[in-house]
Amino acid sequence: MQQKGWGIFFGVVLLAAFLSIAVGPLVGWWLPANVSSFGPDVDYLYYVILGFTTFFFLLTEVLLVWAMYRFAGRPGNKSQYVEGHHRLEMLWTVVPGGILLYIAIAQISAWERIKYQAKMPDPDLVMQVTARQWDWTMRYADTPLPENHRRWAEIPNFDDIYLPDELHCWKGANVRIYLKTNDVLHSLFLPQLRLKQDALPGKTIPVWFNATDANTRFNASTGNCEWTDKNKEWEIACAELCGGGHYRMRGLLYVHETKDDYLNWLKHAQKAARSRQPEKKATPVAAKD
């Protein structure tokens, strides 16, 4: 009887593991809010793959635990030697093969829409992002759409604005980012925009997105961008292990409500970037009580 203990033990552990994942959506551990025009395409693929894997995970684990329990060793009993089963082999080769083929075909349209350079929509706003160990430098032109922007991505202009870790755009704009890296591999990851792209040394890689929701408003009197909602602090992360400071390649995504709001911010940023006078900001007081 006690030989069946292992079967029960693994059954309980696996069940606990499965339940701890299954309750995820109930306690808020799920995909971040989607604010991307192509987000549903990505999420659909995600759920399709999750569905397949969950089904087969449950199937195989239930069989495994059942077999462990049912055929637990009995003293004096000899094991049977099984040479193989041709039809079964065929079955578990053809079925996964079919599923992989389905996924390969199902993802084509999403890939085409998001990653094909020739199919990218004409941008309303262009910026160039350079990753390095360990921060992001965003380069903005003095207008949202500089002339000949492919060339501008390679040859900076006199009037460009360099800003660490802050990505600004406006709701509904087709944004084109030319992604570069100064040193090793990095990956620009905007979870809410369902966008992830590796940055490769020596290459300039265009990516695009269109944000369907805004999270910030420019306050001209303070010169700061304020969150419209506390829960909408959208972060930028690096998704390719790039060294000891990988975790601190954090940035913030500011999606302005309107183009005008963005332009107001841009004007302010330009003024700061071209400052010919020391800042007149009063330095705030030391640590709080």
């Binding site: 009887m1 006690q2 030989q3 203990g5 292992w6 033990f9 003293p75 390095r132 160990q133 360990w134 921060d135 430098t137 060339r151 390679e154 040859i155 900076p156 202009n157 006199f158 360099y162 660490p164 870790d165 802050e166 000891g244 400071g245 601190r248 954090r250 940035g251 913030l252 700061a272 970037a273 071209r274 400052s275 010919r276 006078q277 020391p278 800042e279 330095t283 705030p284 007081v285 030391a286 640590a287 709080k288």
Partner: protein, 419 residues
């Protein structure tokens, strides 16, 4: 095999596995130092005079200390002092004095028992109160220490492997300052350290920390000043003992005296910045200003004479020693990378104030009466240089003759090819 044995084994496996996993629940504590940890006394050589000669190669990764140890070789020609030679008695006294005044990583402070009101107000002006420093020390541990080290010596675990090497605060020297040039023993102002922290240093391994909280950034600035004060007091107490000139009073008296001087320098610097005055030009004047800047830059006998060090606009600048004993080179100004910041005001401060520790002198056009040539027609030579340096990486911004003399015909060809 009996079933009881295998059940007992299962229990044993679990009994072993659970304690192994328990530490994961506690997490690791990033936010405190052991109470008994003190700042270690300096052990790396003190560079009292870097070699004068220039070299073309740079230090190999991880070799900084070896490189500095060889600076005093006769063929290199620098001078260093070895703190290992400090007599045991003085060593003990210095350690006690520094710990008493500057505290430990867990409880950093700038504390003088019988400080007068002036010193107290300076400590307050520089925000070196215990609470801010303790906060700064924690943030420093998390974000800075792996490069800049426990004592701010620039020798954290990552430090030796990056070039340029992380700043060693203990010399009391900093590069990017907006402090008025009249101030003796110039130190950076709090705003300068803030700017470096927020924007990082382009072209080096110093990243931007712009997303830290306001209080964290302020506390870090205070803590950097604290480490710098401690390191400088340590260095200049060690120096007279090591070079044989000796101390007048006790070691502690020397440290206290030095601290007074350095606090004075920091407070003075913090209070007084370079004021650029009103920008003299209108938008349309830019081309003429750039041309004048070009002339000032390239005149080898002028008051600026930038071209003597920034050879070929920095494209062929040779390496030279800075005051830390590391090899650096004047910036390649055609690259469009500005370590001290790319705003016009940043470049103005570099030109007007110089970069003392790397031996970049300040451009000095003195008062307008003495340099009539450069100041005529309401021109401002400093802004002329700033405008030129800013336009230099962008050939299309330069007047045609200036462009040809910097980039030659080659430029036109590449422009054409890129189109």
């Amino acid at each position: 095999m009996s079933s009881a044995v295998s059940f007992a084994r299962m229990v044993r496996v679990l009994a072993l596995a659970i304690p192994c996993l328990l530490p994961l629940l506690s997490g690791c504590d990033l936010d405190s130092y052991p109470a008994e940890l003190t700042y270690p006394l300096r052990s790396d050589p003190i560079v009292t005079s870097p070699p004068g000669s220039t070299r073309w190669d740079t230090t190999a990764p991880g070799q900084l200390d070896m490189h500095i140890a060889h600076l005093s070789d006769p063929e290199v020609g620098g001078k260093t002092l070895d703190p290992a030679k400090l007599p045991a008695k003085e060593r003990g006294e210095l350690e006690r004095a520094l710990n008493e005044i500057f505290g430990t990583p867990a409880t950093p402070k700038v504390f003088l028992k019988d400080a007068d009101d002036e010193v107290k107000s300076r400590i307050q002006d520089l925000k070196l109160d215990d609470k801010t420093l303790a906060h700064g020390s924690i943030v420093y541990r998390r974000h800075c220490m792996h490069c800049h080290g426990v004592t701010g010596d620039g020798r954290g675990p990552t430090g030796p492997w990056i070039n340029p090497t992380p700043r060693d605060y203990r010399q009391g020297l900093f590069k990017f300052m907006s402090t008025a040039v009249e101030v003796n023993n110039r130190k950076p102002r709090r705003e300068d350290l803030r700017r470096t922290l927020e924007h990082g240093i382009e072209g080096t391994s110093m990243p931007s920390f712009s997303l830290l909280e306001e209080a964290e950034k302020e506390a870090l600035v205070s803590y950097v000043i604290h480490l710098s004060l401690r390191g400088e007091c340590e260095r200049y107490t060690m120096e007279p003992i090591l070079d044989g000139s000796g101390l007048e009073g006790s070691v502690r008296e020397k440290v206290v005296e030095l601290l007074g001087d350095f606090l004075h320098a920091w407070a003075n610097s913090n209070a007084k910045g370079i004021e650029p005055g009103v920008y003299p030009y209108k938008e349309g004047d830019l081309q003429a200003s750039i041309r004048r800047g070009f002339q000032l830059f390239t005149d080898p006998r002028g008051s600026a004479s930038c071209i003597n060090c920034h050879v070929d606009f920095g494209r062929q600048a040779p390496f030279r020693y800075d005051k830390w004993g590391t090899l650096v080179r004047p910036a390649n100004l055609t690259a469009g990378v500005y370590r001290g910041g790319r705003r016009p005001i940043d470049i103005y401060w570099r030109i007007r104030g110089g970069i003392d520790p790397s031996q970049m002198p300040r451009a000095d056009f003195g008062d307008q009466a003495a340099h009539k040539e450069q100041w005529r027609n309401n021109a401002d030579p400093y802004w002329d240089l700033v405008n030129f340096v800013q336009a230099l990486p962008y050939p299309q911004m330069l007047p045609e003759d200036v462009r040809d003399s910097i980039y030659g015909r080659r430029h036109e060809k590449t422009e054409h090819a890129q189109r």
